[in-house]
Amino acid sequence: MNSGIFTLLTLTLPILAVLIIYFIPRTALKTLYVIANVFFALDLLLALLLWYLYVPESSSLQLRYQYAWLPDFGISFSLGLDGLSLPLVLLTSFLTLLVGIHSRSVSTGLKGYLICVLLLQAAMLGAFLAMDALIFYMFWESMLVPMFFLIGVWGSSRRVYAAMKFFIYTAVGGLPLLAGILYLAYLCLQQQNQVSFAITDWYNLNLSPNEQVVLLAIFTFAFAIKIPAFPLHTWLPDAHVEAPAGASVILAGVLLKLGLYGLIRFCLPIFTEAFAGYAWVLVILATLGIVYGAFMAWVQKDMKKLIAYSSVSHLGFCLLGVASLTTEGVNGAILQMVNHGITTGALFFIVGALYERYHTRLIADYGGLAGTLPRLSMFTLIFTLGAIGLPLTNGFVGEFLIIVGAFEWQAVAGLVSVSGVILGAIYMLSWYRRCFYGTPANTLAQKNDFVLREYLVFIPLAILVFVLGVYPNLILSRTTATAESYLKDFDRVLQERKMP
């Protein structure tokens, strides 16, 4: 049997769940919750199955599913996995399961909330799995809608402004992206005598330098908004502050990774020469993002904004790894994408847990939680340490690999990124100190330390923090073959085009 069917199943399961949940009355909260979580869990199992079936040594696309959808237009429903998408697919289904478990705390409109999360999950998985550019674009854009509703309906006071901003920001990047995709298909027609949206077909396109630069700019613009790279990041803090905890987790944990994913999937292999020529722009933006995001995080008063800006800094690291165009850098970037998903996802859950108890996100309102909520404090500390990249927690290895890559690229880039290591400790530990140490603030009544649902969410995350810190090869063994083949092709193309 073709094992690609599992890939398709992973993608369609959430949609199936939506169809079922649609017919359950909105008042049957428990049924809704259980069914949705069963599906989330099944999807995680499927993702684990994909992980198991995947052959780490091979760099080619695996577990492919293909259905010639509109053959006349060269559009096929084609899915596949490689070392780049596999960890992200697993991360997606893992985090959505946790969001599902956590959804118990959603007070109103659980049904709609679950439907949005399920649709979002399908869209994210689709974007990671799609090997056809138009399908990718379809999923890419369709993520916006459920996220728009998650922020706009379940968000806090300024939610409509934030949702609109999020939507417009990303749509502005998306439309030129569509134009770019259509143009590439058109080039395919010219050069290969048939329209094709298959991404792998595009790797062999012959683009003039000017075309490359313009298309690279268009694609990178769309992806950089998603990452979000400095200076296109300002939608992120607003979106996070207003979004409900679950949406924040998905947004930071998975959605942002799509920008970097696209960068590696599209820009690196298709616009090779332009990418090599303009990698320095990305490096500058990345290093600026690392330092700038850290400084911004340092002066925030709202803890969600703090973590949002820390994401800007951390994703700056990832972008730097990709732009360094080295094995260490690219592998480190993929690893760090997963790590960021885990730690930042966890930190947004933590903020959500605090908000549920005390209904404030202002750091100044907190203090002394280590005394009143010892378990929550312990988990927070673990995630904080992961975020600042302490060795043997998940953040360290990725960061180290990226810094090695940056130094290989140029020492200055490496030096600037190392300063991010210091700044990271400053803003994260300041936050932890102000919220968790000191005398408990009078306004904070004694609350339950932990409920079962929270254990279910935080324990797997905490375990992963250590597992990936001690055994990063779990991810790296899957990513190296792919990353190396990407870079090898990259160098080969550069060499070939230089020859004549």
Binding site: T234, F295, L390, L401, V404, L415, Y437, T480
Partner: protein, 648 residues
């Protein structure tokens, strides 16, 4: 053979390493759950460290058997691959050679005594399991640090001990000052760590490896500039961890932690990690004489600088903290002279007498109802005779009074600085070579050491009791470990000094660094030795005279020199300077960037373009109206533009 008696060596190393970690986990999760189990945590923690100590003793003998046959015998244990990407191939590889054997015995041995002591010191604390969990975790991290076979794994321990230090300084976190001190320690250390990372990557990109043995064989083939750069960057890491100028500011604040923590982490073990690092990489530093010179200068200046501050502090732990900084400076002096083994020698003896001093201080603080100001002590020798006796021995040792351990190690250290002129001789100041200048600065600092330690002894134990409340001698749980350390501070060097130097032979540059017994014949050495004795005894005599017999004179002198006195007691205002020159400006810049760039500029552009689109679309609405004329206008404009595009 011992090997056949016990487990295989590999497993033994792993067991010795993991014992404290297991105990930490049990303490944190199991013993924390019930109040009745709290008392267990301390004893289980102590037992685990003791078990680890015994295992290291066995390993130590195995190693010595190996060393008898081969000079460079090493015991290894490979726990598998950690990172495996492209060039980066890092294993969880542990090694025991002379250096790591000595260090691991020190860590677990002194660590065990301090664990036992902490059972008494923390007896009334509610959070004992958490405390012992952190303390055990520290032992684990420190063991990784000293057993690591590659630089990255060493860095794991390096950051790990930093984390434990952070957690333990801020252990009583209800007081925000303690938490603040912990954070300061972590952040300042991170500045050093950034240097460490840069140095590590520099080496890695030049050689493609981080394993010590491979680095050692490849180092000679590297360009001198590159070696110097890497050595310098790694030294920045050492400056941070070992609290040298200019990154020493965290250590005095670190005294906010419970006293056993100060004894274990901030005196005996963690702060010596910087010295260990440079010894471990001695092959690299030997190739970079300019960096060695810098190390010697920074060490000497720090030693002197910290000793002057220690002269006027009134908090007993602050005196000991500055004394630690000063002593670490001595060790860096030795490293700078290329006398790596002498530096480690002093690390060991310093661990004994400084841990002893801290534990005595803790005993006094506990007895005096958490009073740390020496002006409220006095006359305690009658009330706490055991503590007094131990403190006295340790003071004699740190002052370098003959035939204590401190005398041997410090004297050997100064002697190598004096005699190993060759490595520092390329720099001159006037007629004097750098080595000789540093030697005299070191000797003067030794005098200051004897004075400020004598002062603390007088203020604490002599004269009249100036405090309030009853004072009782501490319990046996606390006194016995102190007594053991005191006796080690007295006889360790004379008994085991030779074995130690034998073990550290690969880190010895020349015969100049041999132990006292072998050097006794040398007339120059004799002369220097007498000078050292004179300095130590003279310093103590001065302290007794000025702080015991003539306190009024001293007070008058302090009044006359009010301005320098104020400067010293405010620690040269270094903290304030850092705050106003670095921290506050950075914070201001961050705030300004947020307001100007993020909110005003970028947001202005984004929202502005949003508003612009709104305005334009209102205008554009005209184009889509149902009026025929405007439709025709639009169509024709578009057609014309299209034609232009085709033709052009």
């Amino acid at each position: 053979m011992l090997e056949s008696l016990a487990m295989p060596v590999e497993k033994q190393i792993i067991a010795a390493l993991l014992l404290p970690l297991f105990s930490a986990v049990i303490s944190y999760f199991a013993f924390n759950s019930h109040k009745k189990l709290h008392v267990l945590s301390g004893w289980v923690a102590s037992a685990s460290v003791f078990g680890s100590f015994i295992l290291f003793l066995i390993l130590f003998y195995t190693l010595r058997l190996g060393l008898a046959q081969e000079v460079n015998a090493i015991l290894n244990s490979d726990l598998g691959s950690w990172i495996n990407v492209g060039l980066v191939q890092i294993d969880f590889m542990l090694r025991i050679d002379g250096l790591s054997a000595v260090m691991s015995l020190l860590v677990t041995g002194v660590g065990f005594l301090i664990h036992v002591y902490a059972n008494g010191y923390m007896a009334k604390d509610e959070n004992r399991p958490r405390f012992f969990a952190y303390l055990n975790l520290f032992i684990f991290a420190m063991l990784i640090l000293v057993l690591a076979d590659n630089l990255l794994l060493l860095f794991v321990g390096w950051e790990g001990v930093g984390l434990c230090s952070y957690l333990l300084i801020g252990f009583w976190h209800k007081d925000m000052n303690n938490a603040q001190a912990g954070q300061k320690a972590f952040v300042v250390n991170r500045i050093g760590d950034a240097g460490f990372i840069v140095g590590m990557i520099t080496l890695f990109l030049a050689t493609g490896t981080l394993s010590f043995s491979q680095l050692q064989s490849l180092a000679v083939s590297l360009s001198p500039e590159l070696v110097a750069l890497a050595a310098l960057c790694l030294f920045i890491g050492a400056i941070g961890k070992s609290a040298q100028l200019p990154l020493f500011v965290w250590l005095p604040d670190a005294m906010a932690g419970p006293t056993p923590v100060s004894a274990l982490i901030h005196a005996a073990t963690m702060v010596t990690a910087g010295i260990y690092l440079i010894c471990r990489l001695s092959f690299l530093y030997t190739l970079a004489p300019s960096v060695l010179a810098l190390i010697a200068i920074i060490g000497a200046l720090t030693a002197f600088f910290a000793a002057t501050i220690a002269l006027v502090q009134n908090d007993i732990k602050k005196v000991l903290a500055y004394s630690t900084i000063s002593q670490l400076g001595f060790m860096f002096m030795a490293l700078g002279a290329g006398a790596y083994s002498n530096a480690i020698y002093h690390v060991i003896t310093h661990a004994f007498f400084k841990a002893c001093l801290f534990m005595c201080a803790g005993s006094v603080i506990n007895a005096c109802h958490h009073e740390q100001d020496m002006r409220h002590y006095g006359g305690l020798w009658k009330k706490m005779p055991c503590t007094f006796a131990c403190y006295l021995v340790a003071v004699l040792a740190i002052a370098g009074v003959p035939w204590t351990s401190g005398f041997y190690s410090k004297d050997a250290l100064l002697w190598t600085v004096f005699s190993e002129g060759d490595i520092l001789s390329f720099l001159h100041l006037g007629d004097y070579s750098l080595a000789v200048l540093i030697y005299y600065l070191g000797l003067f600092t030794a005098l200051l050491t004897a004075i400020y330690m004598g002062r603390s002894l007088v203020m604490t134990f002599f004269g009249q009791y100036r405090g309030h409340g009853e004072v009782k001698e501490s319990s046996a749980v606390m006194v016995v470990p102190i007594a053991i350390l005191a006796s080690l501070s007295y006889f360790f060097a004379s008994r085991y000094g030779d074995i130690l130097m034998e073990l550290l032979y690969p880190w010895t540059r020349s015969d100049m660094q041999l132990s006292h017994h072998l050097l006794a014949e040398n007339p120059v050495f004799k002369e220097r030795e007498h000078l050292s004795m004179f300095v130590a005894l003279g310093g103590l005599a001065l302290a007794l005279t000025f702080f015991w017999y003539l306190p009024k004179v001293t007070q008058a002198v302090a009044k006359v020199f009010a301005w320098p006195h104020k400067l010293l007691s405010h620690k040269y205002y270094i903290d304030e300077i850092y705050n106003w020159v670095i921290v506050e400006p950075l914070r201001f810049v961050a705030g300004a960037l947020f307001k100007v760039i993020d909110r005003a500029l970028i947001e202005g552009l984004v929202n502005g373009s949003g508003a612009l689109v709104l305005v334009l679309s209102r205008r554009a609405r005209v184009l889509q109206s149902s009026m025929l004329s405007s439709n025709v206008l639009t169509m024709s404009t578009a057609l014309i533009l299209f034609l232009f595009w085709l033709l052009w």
